[in-house]
């Protein structure tokens, strides 16, 4: 299986989307990534505030965007649109806004849900479901917080004495099918043909998309 995974940076993400949207051969083989509109990459103060380093930028998946496939990032991600796939993964934070909808597993350092999630969530630091959030799936995190009004159905696994190091998407890709990240993450790496990516830790945001 040919992979469409690629490291995205601010200047070339639109080019990537253009290539994938009009590559019919690729679409017919794998099911096309249904990116309906453009993805804006911009600084997001609300998410950035959650990050430990002020240098970490955020990728925002906007309200009218629907992505079928996996999303991997070395930046914070805010999702206001709809993602259908097997994994949304960040080595930093993932925030699902009130209008956001995710049908996929989520793995990040801190996960904040104000929208709708159907899938499992792994937070290496914390998972917060806010008052408008709704989650159907299992949560694993050292700390989990529900706000009044939050809807949750599933199991919550907590361990206050444990802080798990986040899985870096870059490392995950380099490791190929290694089993350290659980089955869903492992599956998302199958057939990855992209060149190994160095997580430079620079200020530039990184976002990788993989068609479903």
């Amino acid at each position: 299986m040919v992979s469409t995974t690629a490291r995205m940076t601010t200047p070339n993400i639109l080019k990537y989307m253009e290539i994938n949207m009009f590559d019919k051969r690729k679409s017919s083989r794998q099911g096309s990534p249904q990116i309906k509109e453009s993805i804006a990459m911009q600084e997001n103060p609300s998410v950035a505030a959650q990050a430990h380093s002020p240098a970490i930028k955020s990728a925002v998946i906007g309200l009218d965007i629907e992505i079928t496939g996996d999303v991997k990032a070395s930046a914070n991600i805010k999702i206001n649109g709809h993602i259908k796939g097997s994994i949304v993964e960040s080595s930093h934070n993932v925030e699902i806004g009130e209008s956001g909808k995710v049908n996929a597993n989520i793995s990040a350092k801190i996960v904040i849900v104000a929208g709708l999630v159907e899938g499992n969530i792994a937070g290496s630091e914390k998972v917060l479901i806010s008052k408008t959030g709704s989650v159907r799936g299992n949560i694993v995190a050292p700390r989990v917080q529900l706000e009044d009004g939050a809807l949750f159905r599933g199991s919550i696994e907590m361990d206050p004495g444990k802080v798990v190091k986040p899985v870096s998407p870059a490392v995950s890709r380099k490791a190929g099918n290694s089993s350290h990240a659980g089955s869903s993450i492992k599956d998302s790496s199958i057939g990855t043909g992209a060149a190994p990516v160095q997580d430079t830790g620079s200020k530039e945001s990184g976002l990788a998309l993989k068609s479903g």
Partner: protein, 222 residues
């Protein structure tokens, strides 16, 4: 008069002192004399497994966040099979439905079952089916907390519950339509909920019976 059998040994008391309660942000905090017994014997050196058959409430998550644990929130109150019990008369079908709802990971053994007033909304066949489905997930030290009513005249309020502290629960109004109640005497409940023994019972001022349950002796050691 029905034979009382082992149920006669249940330490049912009338709570002469009404439970102290306070209201914090619209949530009534009600002290419980039986809650401490529920948490006292926990082996906190290993991961605890908890089943809450009610809605996931912030205070319950916050309370258990101090433990290494896994909580299963399965809001059975909102499940169609429970809301429309009259339409499922076949015991096998009931068993199948509860089995689907209570599908915990293989090998799961519950330390605590938070049943709240769920038992009051189950008729006899449903209570028996629930018991049979729950049984494989129990071990010899499984404990449960719940409420019972033994008479239709006792009005059960449409409430949902959470764990506030080791000796206090939260009580909130449930937004969904109230289910039909099915009162059971202790004898009936003891027969139908056969995986538990009644450790203590406390008659509350509103007529509800607060129950502390423990796994029956024939439940296998974990």
């Amino acid at each position: 008069m029905p034979p009382l059998g082992r149920v006669n040994t249940v330490a049912t008391q009338v709570d002469l002192n009404a439970p102290a309660s306070s209201v914090v942000r619209g949530v009534v905090v009600q002290t419980s004399k039986l809650f401490p017994s529920l948490f006292r014997s926990l082996d906190t050196n290993r991961r605890l497994t908890i089943l809450d058959v009610g809605a996931a409430l912030p205070e319950t998550v916050q309370f258990f966040s101090r433990f290494k644990c896994r909580i299963h929130f399965i809001d059975l109150f909102s499940e169609p099979v429970v809301r429309e019990l009259q339409q499922v008369s076949n015991p096998k079908e009931l068993h199948h439905q509860f089995e689907k709802l209570l599908k915990l990971p293989h090998g799961s053994r519950l330390d605590i079952c938070l049943l709240w007033d769920f038992l009051c909304y189950l008729d006899d066949p449903a209570l028996r089916a629930f018991n049979n489905v729950l049984r494989p997930y129990m071990h010899s030290r499984t404990r449960a907390h719940g409420f019972g009513i033994h008479h239709l005249a006792i009005r059960l309020e449409n409430k949902q519950y959470g764990v506030m502290e080791e000796d206090a629960m939260s009580v909130r109004l449930r937004q969904t339509k109230q289910l039909a109640t099915h009162p059971h005497t202790q004898v009936e409940m003891h027969e139908l909920l056969s995986c538990f023994d009644f450790e203590r019972g406390l008659l509350l001022p509103d007529g509800k019976l607060e129950l502390l349950l423990r796994a029956r002796d024939d439940i296998l050691e974990f």
